[in-house]
Assembly symmetry: C2
Homo-oligomer: 344 residues x 2
C-alpha cells in the first residue's frame, strides 16, 4: 500500500510500504478513507534532522474495517470508524480515570512498527478500546466534523476541561490554529462568557468568532499582554488555554493569566524548561493540561456533531489526495491552509 513518510525538514514522500496484517487477536485492519495533517506534524516538517530511512507519519484518521482479530467484539468488517490520535484499551485504571494518554496497553501511531494515519490502511491494536463506530457513511457531509474529533477538538476541549472552564468564565485562548479554534469552541460549549482569542490571521480569527470568541487580539508579546489586561480590569484572564506549544506562547500565558488562575497547555511543548519562578509562585499560578484523552471525549462530542450542534469541520479548508500530501504539509506550514484533509 501507499503511505506517507517524512525524511527530514520539508521532505514528505508517499511510498510503497507493506500492507498491514493482523498480529494480535485484538487488532483490526482499517482501510483509511480520510486522514489529516496535524499542527504537531509540522514540528517535524520544520525541524527534523534528515534520515535515510524515513519515518511513518500521521495520527488522525478514519476508515472502514477490513478485517478483525479473533477477540474483537465492538466492530466488524464494513463498519465506518473514527480513530483517536492515541490507541488504548479503554479499560485499564488510567483509562477509567479518563487518562487515556497513560493507558497501560496503549500508545502512539507511526511508532514501534505501527502504521501512521496518512496511508491507505493501518493495523489498529486494541481495536475494541480504540475505535469509535460512527453511524454515517465514509463520504457523508459530516465527515470533516467527525475527523476533527480524532485530535484537534478533543485537544481544545481538554484545555478547557483541565483548566476548569465553566459557566460565566473569562477565558483567553492563545493561538488561532485548529487547536486554538477548537479551544474557543469548547470554552463556548462549556458556558464561558468572555473568550479572548489571541491570533493574527483574520480568516482564522473570523472562524474563531463564529465558534464563540468575543474578542480578538492580533498583537503579540507585551502588546498582547497589555490588550488582554485592558479587557480584564488590569488583572488578566483566570483561564488561559495555551494552544501553540512554543516558549513565547507559554511566556505570554504567564503574563496574561490572573493571579490564582490556571494555564492549560495543549500545544505540544517545543521547549524543555519554562519559567516557574518566584513571580509565578507568589501569584499562585497553576499549570495544567497535557496530551488529550481524545477517546474519553469523543462520544459526547460526536453526539453534538451528529445532531448539528457543533460544526468543527468548518476548520478544514484544504483537501488533498494522498499522493499530494506534501502539498498539504506545505500549505499548512506556509499558513495558506488552516487544516488539511487527506484522501487516500
Amino acid at each position: 500500500m501507499r503511505a506517507t513518510l517524512i525524511y527530514g525538514r520539508g521532505d514528505v514522500r508517499v511510498e510503497e510500504v507493506p500492507d498491514p496484517v493482523l498480529v494480535e487477536p485484538g487488532d483490526a485492519i482499517v482501510r483509511v478513507t480520510r486522514a489529516c495533517v496535524c499542527g504537531s506534524d509540522l514540528h517535524r516538517y520544520r525541524g527534523m534532522e534528515p534520515t535515510t530511512e524515513g519515518l511513518r507519519i500521521g495520527h488522525e484518521f478514519m476508515g472502514v474495517i477490513e478485517d478483525t482479530g479473533a477477540d474483537v467484539r465492538s466492530v466488524k468488517r464494513g463498519d465506518v470508524v473514527l480513530v483517536p490520535f492515541l490507541w488504548c484499551d479503554n479499560t485499564c485504571d488510567f483509562c477509567r480515570d479518563g487518562l487515556h494518554g497513560s493507558c497501560r496497553n496503549g500508545g502512539r501511531w507511526a511508532m514501534n512498527g505501527l502504521d501512521g494515519g496518512q496511508g491507505e490502511a493501518a493495523r489498529v491494536p486494541q481495536a475494541d478500546g480504540t475505535l469509535v463506530k460512527v453511524p454515517v457513511g465514509a463520504d457523508d457531509p459530516l465527515v470533516p466534523s467527525i475527523m476533527a474529533l480524532s485530535d484537534v477538538l478533543p485537544t481544545g476541549h481538554h484545555a478547557a476541561i483541565t483548566a476548569n472552564v465553566g459557566k460565566g468564565s473569562t477565558v483567553a485562548v492563545i493561538g488561532d490554529g485548529a487547536v486554538g479554534l477548537s479551544a474557543v469552541l469548547s470554552a463556548a460549549r462549556l458556558g464561558a462568557e468572555r473568550i479572548i482569542l489571541l491570533g493574527r490571521h483574520q480568516a482564522r480569527t473570523d472562524l474563531g468568532r463564529r465558534f464563540g470568541a468575543t474578542d480578538v487580539i492580533p498583537e503579540r508579546g507585551e502588546e498582547a499582554t497589555a490588550a488582554v489586561r485592558d479587557l480584564t480590569n488590569g488583572d488578566g484572564a483566570p483561564y488561559v488555554l495555551e494552544c501553540v506549544g512554543n516558549a513565547p506562547a507559554f511566556e505570554t500565558a504567564l503574563t496574561i493569566v490572573r493571579d490564582g488562575g490556571t494555564i492549560s497547555r495543549v500545544g505540544v511543548p517545543q521547549y524543555a524548561e519554562a519559567r516557574l519562578d518566584f513571580d509565578v509562585f507568589m501569584r499562585n499560578i497553576t499549570i495544567t493540561g497535557g496530551v488529550a484523552p481524545a477517546r474519553r471525549y469523543i462520544p459526547e462530542l460526536l453526539a453534538e456533531v451528529l445532531d448539528g450542534t457543533i460544526t468543527p469541520g468548518d476548520m478544514f479548508d484544504l483537501t488533498v489526495d494522498l499522493n499530494d500530501v506534501a502539498e498539504g504539509f506545505r500549505a499548512m506550514n506556509d499558513r495558506e491552509a488552516l487544516k488539511a484533509l487527506v484522501r487516500p
Copy 2:
C-alpha cells in the same frame, strides 16, 4: 527599639532602629512577644550578597497591641494577636477568593520601610484585615502552636489544599523541614490514607510519623524515586507536596508523581526555570501551589490548636532571646534546630 538586620551571607545582627509609629488610620502597633526564624530566611542567610546598610528580616510573629489608628475596629490595646506572614485587607476580591497573597492592599513584611517580625515591635498596616486576636495570654503554653500558624502550618496546608488532597489520598511530601512536616500534618488532617515523607533527619521524620506519615524515605534522587514507586504499584503518588523549593526537589517531584497527578509547590523556588517538557506534557502533570494565604486558613487551624486536636508547636526545638537571634539562624542553617522561636 532593637530589631534584626541581615547584612549578607551568615551575617545577622541586632541593632537599634526607630520605634514604629502609627502612619495610616488602619495601622496598629504590635509589641512583639514571639517571632520565628523561617526556612525562607535561610535562603538569604546562605546566599545574600553583602550590603552596607543591612535589611530588616522576619515575617512570623505575634504580640500585644500597643496602639491602634483611628479606623481600627477589631483589636484594641492589650489584645494578644497573631500576625500572618503577609499583611492584607481581607476584604478585596482577591482576599474574598481566598488569595490573600494577591491582596490589592497587602504586602510583605520588612520591605518598603515596614518592620520585620524579628524585633521588639512592628507597625501593622491593614490591622483589621491582617491581625487575628487569640484568646490566650502571650506566654500561654499554646503559644508555640499558635506561632506555627503564622506561616509554616498554613503553608503546608496550602500545599495539601491546592493539590486537592482528601479522604483516602496517597500523598508524597518532599522535605522534612517545618513546612514539610506541616504538609504531613495537613494531609493527615484532610484524611489522606498514605503519607510518604521524603526526608533523612530522623528526629524530624520521627515527628513526621507522629504527625501522620505512614512511610519515610531517606533516599534522594533516583533512589528516592524508586522507593516511592515501590510503595505505589510502580506508578508514583497522585499528590506530591514539594516543601523545599530547590531545583532537585522539583525534579524529584516530577519523577515521583503519578501520571495525571498534581505537584503543589510551597517551598519558595530557588530556581527561575524548571522542566515542563514533552514528558511532563504526555503525563498530564499539574503544577500548582504558591505562596499561602495564611490569613484565610488561620481561623480553622487556630480552633484545632485551641482545642488540642493539633500540636504544630512540637516543631519548635530551640528558643533564643532576640539578642541571640543569630544563633537561631546558625542552628537552623546547620540543621541542629528544626525551627527556632525568638523572644524579644
